[in-house]
Chain length 232, copies 2
């Protein structure tokens, strides 16, 4: 990934269009989100985004500058909303169960909001989660991006887990978080793999099935690792 040339002064990049009819800026972001999430950054051309959004390529550069800045705008747009939802859920749970937090309760507060958003009628969140999964799995520049946007809420999770299990080793919690996020992101990105593997018995779009299993799965795994606290 090349260097992202910072916005020069004077260019109207990032400004919202006036409130007149269809918001083309949002249309561009939605189109880019869907395409990037399915084909990756390099697998999508600016022209495809323009065609999908029903605008010209020049307009995309007018609003967002370079292609990479468009991608960053897509990623950033829902990150704040998502972080608010998660922090709210975790705060609410910690407030409701100040002295009897369970591991599974903490996990549910951390993952639940994502599953809920994915089950909304709004299909854009599914695209966004696919995109986050893709970034999370990008060794090249994904780590830096995840770090910038999502580390605070993850540290909040680690703290809550530590509160629920005071004897837990911090290193174990970090590793368990990685296992957890791998499962969560794959489930949320709905790759269709499980449909084919199970010959239709399971459908990757079945978020109800995920909800019914993922929290318990992760909670049991974490507790077992903490219980053994390996020294390696």
């Amino acid at each position: 990934m090349a260097k992202a040339n910072g916005n020069q002064a004077g260019t109207p990049r990032g400004r919202r269009p006036k409130g007149q009819g269809p918001d083309l800026r949002e249309a561009i972001l939605n189109a880019a989100e869907g395409l990037f999430s399915r084909h990756g950054f390099y697998g999508v051309t600016v022209r495809q985004v323009a065609a999908e959004a029903g605008v010209d390529t020049a307009l995309i550069h007018y609003y967002f500058g370079a292609k990479r800045e468009l991608f960053d705008s897509v990623f950033a747009r829902r990150a704040e909303i998502l972080n608010e939802a998660r922090l709210g859920a975790m705060r609410a749970y910690q407030a409701a169960q100040p002295d009897s937090m369970t591991v599974e309760g903490v996990i549910e507060a951390f993952i639940g909001p994502l599953v809920d958003l994915s089950m909304t009628d709004d299909p854009h969140w599914k695209n966004y989660f696919r995109l986050v999964a893709l970034v999370n799995n990008t060794p090249d520049w994904g780590g830096e991006t995840m770090h910038r946007y999502f580390d605070p809420v993850v540290h909040r999770l680690i703290d809550a887990l530590k509160a629920a299990m005071p004897d837990a080793e911090i290193r174990d919690l970090y590793w368990c978080y990685q296992f957890l996020t791998g499962s969560m992101m794959l489930a949320l990105s709905e790759t269709g793999r499980i449909d084919q593997l199970s010959d239709g018995l399971c459908r990757s779009s079945d978020m109800q099935a995920v909800r019914a299993r993922l929290f318990a799965y992760c909670a049991a795994g974490i507790q077992e690792v903490v219980r053994r606290h390996p020294e390696a």
Copy 2:
């Protein structure tokens, strides 16, 4: 992804070069493997592969044809070896414990060979696992590719889990497999994310730490899901 034009007759694509000095065919595959695994299919140009391998682009087309065929060749090359290693480990475990298989034992037979190969001095396996993780996370065409190469060994895992837990619901096992593979692939692709998140306390290259935790984590999770057998 465009149509893959089938090999016309007469072209020497896929043939091995004669045994003379450095094997350029393998050099190309190794270069492509490393680059594709880090930047994805569209993020790598044939010219980059050629430069990395120290050959000309024309030679790549001579050996492999189109870019997509090169990618498929990279993916297929180690798939067979990997499947053999896994099937061997699972067969060996089932033979050693015919009547007392544990869930964790089955899991270890399934994941262990990958961790072992990753800990080898040969760095190419790490690249390959990164590549598989990337394909596994590609909604577009990844499912089909995974299906073609890896479904048999996964079904073998499902069967072994069912043997270890006769009362288990098949649907639960498929879902748990998805959770498991998400954790496993993320851990094996060594994205560096946990290094940054934990501020150096954990290193994603520390396969010993993975080995000490992942098996127990997955086994406990699966057993808990099976124990509850949700109906959703």
